[in-house]
Symmetry: C2
Subunit: 246 residues, 2 copies
């Protein structure tokens, strides 16, 4: 079974990461050569991966994607098991738990930001949440290859396991009293739960959390996009870790 | 000349803001009534705006948009003049300057985050930057109605004008020495320049800036999405303003 990834960045990052099997790479005869394309061809040759130049009509099935004239058929990403993740050494680490994110672009953007912030893993539930697909891979700009995605059947069970393994659980909720910057992220392993754009974090998870925080707004308006909200919180933790100030 | 806006949130927010003329609202006969739709009908009736229930085939031309069975034909947004903006009273305010943002979703997300952060205005150049279109309006989740968009012919001239009016210019650049949180945003009017995802902020604007800052990464990877980068910086300024700590 093959996944399709598309765009120069996605294909290049998957080649560099080297974690997935490539069936083949298709390159439109109409695209111009550049440094990225040359690097893709070089890596494919090194790794014995087939690439073919094809007529642009071959891409007709992929017009919904911004493929830039290049797609690759590769094995699906390997999800990590939560137990395997917990056996690794974690010190002052962060993970993100996604509770009901529906939009592929949001998941891709979250993965990209998480990698930049040095996050150790992302937990998604196997139901009621978007899974990793071609749009997620593309929006993540290749970041999907640099972070474990942990799929679990029950977020509630996952949170209980994390707590037993000395992780602190931080949920976000618009009606929280505490602000996200009131927490000291420097001396703990923190798991940050982000909820669906409309429904928010589910009640059972809020109840199981050690902290519930909000992002204070300077103007009373609707709400932030979930990937932007996550970026604000996770980079506050980065700021604290780098400056030791909170 | 009419713009098309689509989706319940976009239409509702435009009605509430009341800044633009409505030609008419088209509602699919197939959508279910809910609180938002009822509010839209109520406001339209109050304001004497025509709404029509139409067969879903009427929406065939708009399938590329996630219209949720509702569109409105309205007058284009009114851009604000920079001189008009500068005549307003600004104390400890923020504005955002966009230099070459190409993606409509990014512009929409930036506008949404800017409103939540209480930003006073967004400056875009009349060329080499995406303009406000239907996708921008939808992605902004109606935020476009709550913030002045200032269109200028030359960003360089705009920056010079801002400096003369006692605004401090902060540009973002991956190779900067200072971090975005090293600046005290509490005691000044700050204008934050965000660059294109690939090219960054143009050299002439970097040269004209008072500060150049970066977002430090915990993992050396590609880069952040521009709307996430902006969210991180602007909410650091919000944090400082609310806590008086920096």
């Amino acid at each position: 079974m093959n996944d399709i990834i598309y765009g120069k960045n996605s294909v290049l990052e998957a080649l560099i990461a080297g974690k997935r099997e490539f069936n083949k790479i298709l390159i439109s005869k109409n695209i111009h050569s550049d440094a990225k394309l040359n690097k893709i061809k070089e890596l494919a040759e090194q790794k014995g991966i087939i690439y073919q130049f094809v007529a642009k009509e071959k891409f007709a099935a992929y017009t919904e994607f911004n493929h830039q004239g290049i797609i690759a058929q590769i094995s699906p990403i390997k999800y990590m098991d939560l137990d395997t993740f917990l056996e690794l050494q974690h010190t002052n680490a962060s993970i993100i738990i996604l509770d009901g994110i529906e939009d592929s672009h949001n998941l891709g953007a979250i993965i990209r930001t998480a990698v930049c912030a040095g996050v150790s893993g992302i937990i998604i539930p196997s139901r009621r949440n978007v899974q990793v697909n071609s749009i997620v891979e593309k929006t993540s700009a290749g970041a999907i290859n640099h972070i474990p995605i942990i799929k679990v059947n029950s977020l509630t069970n996952a949170v209980e396991k994390l707590k037993k393994s000395n992780w602190w659980i931080i949920a976000t909720d618009a009606s929280a009293k505490d602000n996200y910057y009131d927490i000291n992220y420097c001396d703990m392993n923190s798991a940050i739960i982000m909820g669906a754009e409309h429904a928010g974090v589910s009640k059972s998870l809020l109840k199981a959390s050690d902290y519930i925080v909000k992002i204070p707004m300077l103007k009373d308006f609707n709400s932030l996009n979930v990937s932007n909200a996550l970026a604000i919180i996770i980079f506050e933790s980065v700021r604290q870790k780098l400056t030791k100030k909170y």
